[in-house]
């Protein structure tokens, strides 16, 4: 059965839902820019192709250390390794740079998809242990994020970072290593659903087939070494129709990877598994029998018919009636990276100017470390399965929230609405007055309240909660005019005293909005 396209009202509320899921936080300017367009137009725009961003640079020279191979402000991604100190600083540089890409993202799904693919084809910077490999791997994910999944899988299979991470580079015909062969099937293409029935023998056969790839650690590329490749035939199980992949000799041995992927991608389960993963990441984790039959199955068919092109699937997903159903709104618990970057974007926190790249990296690094404390360490997921919140039955996203991380989330929001983060004489902090000034009528506490909640939440709150929130603005007075007067007085003459009056009330107001559990939902 076909998937229905959304035909309901498509206004700010629907845009907020769509953008919070596809971007890291929805800026009001993003929402406003799309109002009046159709859902198909907006989704097309989110899915447009973009050039790759400039690579990370040496932000890390300081009084204690200078990278002999990379001048300050120049990129290190193609430079020699230098030494362990340089490498660990480059890894930090890469991670901060990645956060900066999210912070400065245009209205495009690409950054969120890059995180999706990072979780899917998980690698750990800590284990790959060379920032240049990690950057290259990340660039591969980003440039193919909306491309073709089969091509991406092929590229990842021979990607230097992945060869290193899952020992493919050390896998030889005399000692085939099963690590990548297993994860390729279990995690990257087929999954472990009930219809994924590859066998241990298939893992071993694939391991033999994948032998021969090694690394050129100067150019950071993979190299096929014919003498290390197992040239014998590889027999696969009945799950794969008893496919026999003929062994190839010489440089042709490298083509066996294509034979393998052709065989794997002939399985319907691949398209279903990837659609389920996209669904869990972008919609909701609970795939009921109804969702499986009426959404995943037809979506997977679209994926197969499009020869594993990713865009057609995302187009249908995000323009579907299903995506906009009430049951699928506000049910996504913000992942840590989404939580911290989303806060910075939605409140339009001002970062140091791009030319002051050293401080930009410092600030981004602070957001990275916060997300890491909240259990999402970018580029270093717990293992090759990615973060449990995206796969662990039955809790999924709920795993982000526990008695340790929930208070930490509050510490973070409380900090940014009050003192902010200062380093090197620069500060990032929420400016509640600047944020409030952009609403349509900030002097009216009712309109301000409605507009702030409509932006920061995707779920409605009760009249009692609204009343309470308004009482913060009114300092427990009952007349709206007290706030109106305070705001207009400040606007007319922003003296220190008048600024403090609105500033403290707005700080309390937004603090409370972010402390309520509703703020955790997207």
């Amino acid at each position: 059965m076909a998937i229905d396209i959304y035909a309901g009202n498509f206004g700010a509320k629907e845009l907020n839902h769509l953008l919070k899921r596809t971007l890291f936080g929805a800026k009001r300017s993003d929402i406003a820019g799309f109002v009046g367009q159709s859902v198909a137009q907006v989704v097309d725009f989110l899915l447009r192709d973009l050039p790759l961003p400039n690579p990370p640079v040496n932000n890390y020279n300081d009084t204690a250390y200078t990278d002999a191979n990379v001048p300050a402000g120049q990129t290190w991604v193609t430079a020699p390794y230098t030494d362990g100190t340089a490498n660990s600083r480059r890894v930090a540089s890469f991670k901060a740079w990645w956060i900066t890409q999210m912070l400065n993202q245009p209205a495009s799904i690409r950054e969120k998809l890059t995180l999706f693919w990072h979780n899917h084809f998980a690698t750990e910077a800590d284990m790959v242990d060379d920032a240049r490999y990690i950057y290259k791997h990340n660039a591969l994910l980003r440039s193919n994020a909306m491309g073709n999944f089969k091509i991406l899988t092929k590229q990842v299979t021979i990607d230097p970072a992945m060869l290193r991470y899952l020992n493919g580079y050390a896998s030889t015909r005399t000692a085939p290593d099963e690590n990548y062969a297993r994860e390729l099937q279990e995690l990257f293409t087929l999954g472990k659903g009930p219809d994924s029935k590859y066998t241990e023998a298939d893992v071993k056969a694939a391991a033999r087939l994948l032998t021969g790839f090694t690394l050129d650690s100067t150019n950071i590329t993979s190299v096929f070494n014919t003498s290390r490749h197992d040239i014998t035939d590889k027999q696969f199980s009945s799950f794969y129709g008893n496919k026999l992949i003929k062994g190839r000799t010489g440089t042709d041995g490298a083509k066996e990877v294509d034979d393998l992927l052709d065989m794997i991608f002939a399985q319907v389960e691949v398209s279903k598994y990837i659609c389920r993963r996209l669904y869990r990441f972008f919609v909701y984790y609970d795939i009921t029998a109804d969702v499986e039959a009426n959404f995943i199955t037809p979506l997977a068919e679209i994926f197969r018919n499009a020869n594993y092109e990713i865009k057609p699937v995302l187009k249908v997903l995000f323009t579907s009636n299903h995506f906009f159903l009430a049951q699928n709104r506000s049910c996504n618990i913000k992942a840590p990276v989404d939580f911290v970057v989303g806060l910075a974007r939605e409140f339009e926190i001002v970062f140091p100017d791009a030319s002051d790249y050293v401080n930009v990296y410092y600030m981004s690094d602070y957001l990275r470390s916060t997300a890491s404390n909240l259990q999402q360490n970018l580029a270093d997921p717990p293992n090759v399965s990615g973060w449990p919140a995206y796969y662990q039955i039955p809790q999924f996203y709920e795993l982000w929230i526990n008695s340790d991380t929930l208070p930490k989330r509050n510490v973070f929001t409380d900090r940014f609405i009050s003192t902010g983060y200062t380093r090197n004489g620069k500060k990032i902090v929420i400016d509640p007055i600047a944020y409030t000034s952009k609403f349509s009528k900030p002097e009216d506490p009712n309109i301000l309240l409605d507009e702030a909640l409509a932006h920061l939440y995707t779920i409605d709150v009760s009249a009692d909660v609204k009343k309470f929130l308004k009482s913060i603005l009114l300092s427990n007075q009952v007349t709206d005019a007290y706030w109106t007067t305070a705001w207009l007085d400040y606007k007319a003459a922003p003296t220190t005293a008048k600024t403090a009056i609105v500033q403290t009330r707005l700080q309390e107001f937004y603090k409370y909005i972010m402390n309520l559990e509703e703020y955790q939902l997207s």
């Binding site: 899952l166 699928n328 293992n383 340790d404 929930l406 208070p407 509050n410 309520l516 939902l521």
Partner: protein, 528 residues
């Protein structure tokens, strides 16, 4: 009625137990388990199990070594085998322990450590993902269960949690995960029974004000979940802070050792008087496919460092607990999702394997080595794995029964079926347990043999029952269950049964006998 419900319902608050017991007719209790549970309530409630997860798949053969198999093990893993003269021998057994685990070896000498050989399960899974799920849920290999074994236990013991908790009977968290991510082992049938703590002293005040009603939708479900976490965090924060506050001085712990940091928090909370039953701590990076050891100095390297951390942390933890007067209350166990392959690979590492030794420790543990050394062939092939001697669920079941005094009926609903009880806990420690020495002595007899061996079409398996249920299963070297030969109650005596080769490929097969607490593995060879 569960004991706790009984206490909650029958006792006015503040009543001291002994006087209450004086008021009851002893006969009214029938079987004495309830009575003994009540009289022993204080100690019983105080028992704590600390679970140490070694994430990544620990190479058991590089941790606990079968000394009588050293030559064949050297053939199988020439590039990583420990030098024979460096291995610490475990007294009383022809079994050794890695030289970096001297702390644990010291505890072993004090009789506080038991090594359980070759722990696994039928049809082992070689995926981290799936194998971890199996260990945490205690499911069969081909079964998916969404709850964790410890979560099921806690939900049986503390019915209706979190509704009505904390209360006077159980004022403390049921289970604590040290860190920021709660283990799926604590997942109950409907809610997670655990709480995550990284710093027991600093808790942040969460708001507690007016709430909108949660809508009846997916969003409402998630909102309710977050609110529940918030509420529990506030409720338990004060008891945790109070417990931590009671312990102002602790023993020395090694530095740069995340496991030691975690166990230090556990010791503080246990000694501070929390009634929390289960603690989970983790240490990772055991997935040593490459560079497991340093070339030419195999007693050093990644795995040696990890093992030393585990050993040093447990030693410091036990010493600290002793100093704090809490060591008698604590039992601990290690586990990893699988062991590693017998044969090493070309990159000085090992690939995913099957059964591996598991360590239990504590004052109440029966020290020693349970089970036989695994047999290593002179011609180990790359796919060969250590066959299982003990099902990991037997370890859980035994600890629940003999350490937490869970009755048989509850036990089978927690563990989903019956598993053999093992001699882990010293006899006389609250719940009864049999004697390790006796079990080991019995296991010295040949309880299962076959003739002819090797064989082509038929062999006769001869086995001895000490009475009770007998299970004989045949596994291949990958751990796959090939046949169940006997599954019946057998009176004490010796029996014969024919075993037919059902078109099995030539090779080694393991016939595993299980009879009550005893089990033995017999290698059978099929030739064409």
């Amino acid at each position: 009625m569960k004991r706790r419900e009984f206490l909650t319902k029958a006792m006015p608050a503040g009543v001291v137990l002994p006087s209450l017991i004086g008021g009851f007719s002893l006969k009214a209790f029938g079987a004495s388990s309830l009575l003994s549970a009540i009289t022993a309530a204080n100690q019983e409630t105080d028992h704590v199990l600390v679970i140490i997860q070694l994430n990544g798949g620990n190479d058991g053969l590089n941790m606990i070594l079968p000394l009588d198999q050293y030559d064949n093990l050297t053939l199988a893993r020439p590039n990583i085998i420990l030098p024979q003269n460096k291995i610490i021998k475990l007294s009383g057994f022809n079994t050794g322990i890695h030289p970096s685990m001297s702390g644990l070896a010291g505890l072993y000498d004090d009789g506080k450590v038991q090594v359980i050989q070759s722990v696994g399960y039928p049809q082992p899974n070689f995926s981290h993902f799936r194998a971890t799920d199996i260990w945490l849920s205690a499911s069969d290999a081909d079964q998916t269960i969404e709850s964790g074994w410890a979560g099921r236990y806690l939900s049986e013991e503390y019915t209706n949690f979190p509704i009505g908790y904390p209360n006077t009977v159980m004022p403390d968290p049921l289970a604590i995960q040290i860190g920021s991510f709660i283990s799926p082992a604590f997942q109950g049938p409907s809610v997670n029974m655990g709480m995550a703590i990284s710093d027991p002293v600093n808790f942040y005040n969460l708001i507690n004000g007016i709430q909108s009603p949660a809508p009846n939708s997916n969003a409402g479900k998630e909102l309710t979940y977050i609110r529940q976490v918030s509420q529990q965090t506030q409720q338990y924060a004060s008891v945790i802070k109070a417990a931590a506050g009671k312990v102002t001085k602790q023993g020395a712990y090694p530095t740069n050792n995340s496991l030691a940091d975690q166990l230090k928090v556990v010791a503080r909370l246990v000694a501070g008087g929390l009634k929390t039953r289960l603690y989970m701590v983790n240490i990772g990076s055991f997935d040593t496919h490459a560079a497991q050891v340093n070339t030419g100095s195999t007693e050093t390297g990644t795995h040696a460092v990890l093992l030393q951390r585990v050993s040093d942390a447990i030693k410091a933890f036990m010493d600290d607990l002793k100093g704090l007067g809490a060591s008698k209350r604590v039992a601990g166990m290690t586990f990893s999702e699988f062991g590693r392959r017998i044969k090493s690979n070309a990159s000085n590492g090992t690939d995913h394997g099957a059964a591996a030794p598991l360590i239990v420790f504590g004052d109440a543990i029966q020290g020693g080595v349970l089970g036989k050394n695994p047999t290593i062939s002179a011609a180990t092939s790359v796919n060969d794995n250590i066959p299982m001697q003990y099902d990991f669920r037997s370890v859980y079941a035994t600890l629940l029964e003999n350490w937490f005094c869970v009755d048989k009926a509850t036990l089978s609903s927690v563990m989903l079926k019956n598993f053999q009880s093992l001699p882990l806990i010293q006899a006389g420690t609250n719940c009864m347990s049999t004697n390790l020495a006796q079990t080991n002595r019995l296991s010295g007899e040949s309880l299962i043999s076959n003739y002819p061996n090797p064989f082509t079409t038929t062999t006769t398996i001869k086995y001895t029952s000490k009475g009770g249920h007998v299970l004989i299963q045949v596994f291949n070297t990958m751990g796959k269950l090939m046949a169940t030969v006997v599954d019946a109650v057998k009176d004490e005596g010796t029996y014969n049964i024919n075993f037919e080769n059902q078109h099995f490929a030539p090779g080694v097969y393991y016939a595993r006998l299980q009879n009550g607490e005893l089990q033995q593995v017999r290698n059978m060879l099929i030739v064409s």
